[in-house]
Symmetry: C2
Subunit: 457 residues, 2 copies
């Protein structure tokens, strides 16, 4: 009976949920750019307000960076305790000119809401807050205990989350963590993600002459930092797509035959997949399928490069410096610190004479996998099936949610990765969106998960 009244409440309040999501999407909470600091805080305050409205006791916890919004509702002794984690910060919206409607003016088209953060992660994390609201408003209480932490630095490496978790270890004790920051496998095929890649990030600057030089007068006599940087980047891969950083693959456990079969059994059309992103041919490590490469093999990509003259027309200079932002996606057993060290040493060994290399590394996190047969995984599977009308598939994902490892280390809890969005929702890209039906199904699944974990009373 209680689940039914919750479902009725969800139905009755679905439009308001969308308008409350829109309100949050209108705030440009870009954590990676200090110009948006005030907006990031405004987003935290709005999340706090929506949590209070859901019936939780809340607190905005300050950090050296952006604040963390914490909510608790733990009035069900004996029932399991869920810790919901999400983030209210977003990626930068550029290139701005590629957005059909502005990134911070949420717009609904064809049943999808378009805005930066629509799916990553404002829309997805809000599903749990609305599910809590539905339980408290429709039945007066939650069937489980819930703690919610929504941070504002996920897109910049969750720099202050670990300290926060350490210092709030007791307060955040839980049986299982729930995170909705992944995707369904495909439209109509919901998924539970049991593996994530890790990540390391580095910014490198190659410096040559103290200022830009005339390429006629000086060309041929000094190292060109752009050419030198290109050489460093080119040295990262061989022509078979293998990463050449020494030791990069050494500690990886090979994919099991069973897991490869499980991946291969998923509906996947590589031609469609590639057409969807506008390329004719894929590229990557030879000897692996596209899904194996995306989910279970490490990569090394340049995310941005700049140097020298950027304007219209030619400018005949030898630039003074060139910069690249590099990230490697890691898989279980790769040690992020060792990989960073090896990357730096490898780049230094390939540096041309007459140039210097600045190497700065940012956040690092290991890849990981969870046991799909646990009672939490199985309860989540039933909840998703009920809300989405189809059993979820168990998949891995190529993205990184570094905190999942931190939850394991600090709180001793595994994480349920329940993605309500789609791969094609353009997260981190222009025209990010979230299908409203997925938003509502996500809220439903979250509410149902609480019920499943309570023992269905």
């Amino acid at each position: 009976m209680s689940m039914e009244s919750v479902e009725a409440y969800l139905q009755q309040n679905s439009e308001r949920f969308v308008s409350e999501l829109s309100e949050l999407l209108r705030i440009p909470s870009v954590s990676g750019d200090s110009a948006f600091k005030g907006d990031v805080r405004r987003a935290a305050q709005l999340v706090d307000q929506q949590m209070r409205q859901a019936g939780m006791t809340t607190e905005i916890v300050e950090t050296p960076g952006h604040p963390i919004v914490v909510g608790t509702l733990t009035q069900s002794p004996g029932a399991p305790t869920l810790l919901v984690y999400g983030h209210y910060d977003v990626q930068p919206p550029d290139p701005l000119q590629d957005w059909i409607t502005p990134p911070f003016q949420p717009t609904v088209r064809d049943g999808k809401i378009y805005a930066r953060g629509a799916t990553d992660d404002k829309g997805q994390m809000l599903t749990h807050i609305k599910a809590i609201e539905a339980w408290t408003k429709a039945t007066g209480k939650l069937p489980v205990n819930v703690k919610v932490i929504i941070e504002g630095e996920e897109e910049v490496g969750s720099r202050n989350l670990e300290d926060f978790l350490e210092s709030h270890r007791k307060q955040l004790a839980c049986d299982i963590v729930v995170v909705s920051d992944t995707s369904q496998y495909a439209p109509g095929i919901p998924a539970i993600t049991y593996g994530l890649r890790g990540i390391i990030a580095a910014e490198i600057i190659v410096r040559g002459p103290k200022q830009d030089l005339h390429s006629g007068i000086f060309g041929g006599s000094v190292t060109n930092p752009v050419n030198a940087l290109a050489k460093l980047i080119a040295s990262l891969h061989d022509d078979q797509g293998h990463v050449k950083i020494p030791g990069f693959y050494d500690e990886i456990t090979p994919l099991s035959v069973q897991e490869r079969q499980q991946f291969a059994a998923l509906p996947f059309d590589e031609v469609d997949f590639l057409q969807g992103v506008g390329v004719s041919t894929g590229w990557g490590e030879t000897g692996f399928t596209a899904n194996e490469r995306r989910w279970a093999r490490p990569t090394c990509d340049v995310n941005g490069i700049t140097g020298g003259y950027q304007g219209e027309g030619p400018k005949t200079i030898i630039p003074a410096w060139a910069r690249a932002k590099i990230t490697c996606r890691l898989v279980p057993n790769q040690n992020p610190e060792k990989i960073v060290q090896s990357l730096e040493a490898y780049l230094r060994s390939h540096l041309r004479p007459g140039a210097t290399l600045e190497f700065k590394s940012d956040h690092g996190a290991s890849g990981l996998v969870f046991d799909t047969s646990s009672k939490y995984m199985q309860a989540a599977s039933r909840a998703v099936a009920a809300a989405f009308g189809r059993e979820p598939v168990f998949i891995r994902e190529g993205g990184s949610i570094p905190v999942v490892k931190t939850f394991k280390d600090i709180l001793g809890a595994d994480t349920l990765l329940l993605g309500w969005g789609q791969n094609t929702d353009n997260l981190h890209s222009p025209n990010e969106h979230f299908t409203l039906a997925d938003f509502h199904r996500g809220i439903h699944a979250s509410a149902r998960l609480m019920w499943e974990l309570s023992g269905r009373k």
Copy 2:
């Protein structure tokens, strides 16, 4: 007697010449950026005005791009005819933050005038206009016939000059061309440049996915355009500094023993030279000295590169595209068209699957050398010696003045390259400047050259 009255006039008017140079330097005539179109025209008008003030008949000739200012004063039948060429357009001033005083607010410090275009080429070209003024004002007439063309597209490849020369071939008939757009060899060592490198320019764009992609979800399965572009650039050189474009060196005449000895006899301290630009070690083709590499060997440099995320902090994307601006400096006998074709084919052959390459080539010009024993070269040598107090050395230069080849082809005339500035004047760089003493000596040398060529009557 006439030369003495000219010299007296120069002395008396030196301050006004500087303030008239300043007036021209205040105009941001950046030809490569269409935002400055109106300023480029204003610069043309001011040059025209200063030519008229020098006693010339002038005309501002329209082209499909920026206009060419033409002046003539040909009232000395039987005397040789000089064609002075220069340009009033300038390179873009960025990076703006590196300028001590703003690029278009000319400022005199320690006897040097700082501004974009101070030496390249507003200050240098103006010396000839002021020399003409001195002759006409001090003596009532020029000892030779002079034609002056000052264009506004030198920094963007002199796109319309060739058509202009073709269509004004008769009107511009001359015995010798004079260009001051090079440098002295060193402070206190004036030089006549008898060789120039040529140039080809290309802009390449590597395109991958139709938009930026999440590097977690897609990383490993598609070509990253920045990594692919880096591979193309890295493929341009081997570790010995040789350019690997097929056929690049095939048609070059090896440097003669005599010329290598002549280069080696010039005062040159490579350690000082490198320290001057802020690097500890040089880099270039093995087997050649720094001056040989700068003056008489071809190069291939990236002048600018861009792709992906340029802002603060990390952004985990696979960029949709990456662009590089490339120029190669050429030496005599290298065919620019063949080099461009070979470059394009070579790059295409190194392109990773799943990426496309856009290749756009701009201006091309051959390298060239002139006979140092001609009567014009010898007259110029005497004029420079008189004005600078020291015999000039004969050198080659690594920069490109493509029109010099065009003058040879269309007008059949050789060019005297008389550089009054210094290598260290930061041309094409922040804090470009011109030593005022060099400005005045340049005017003096130009006036004296006219006298030397007239037979010293």
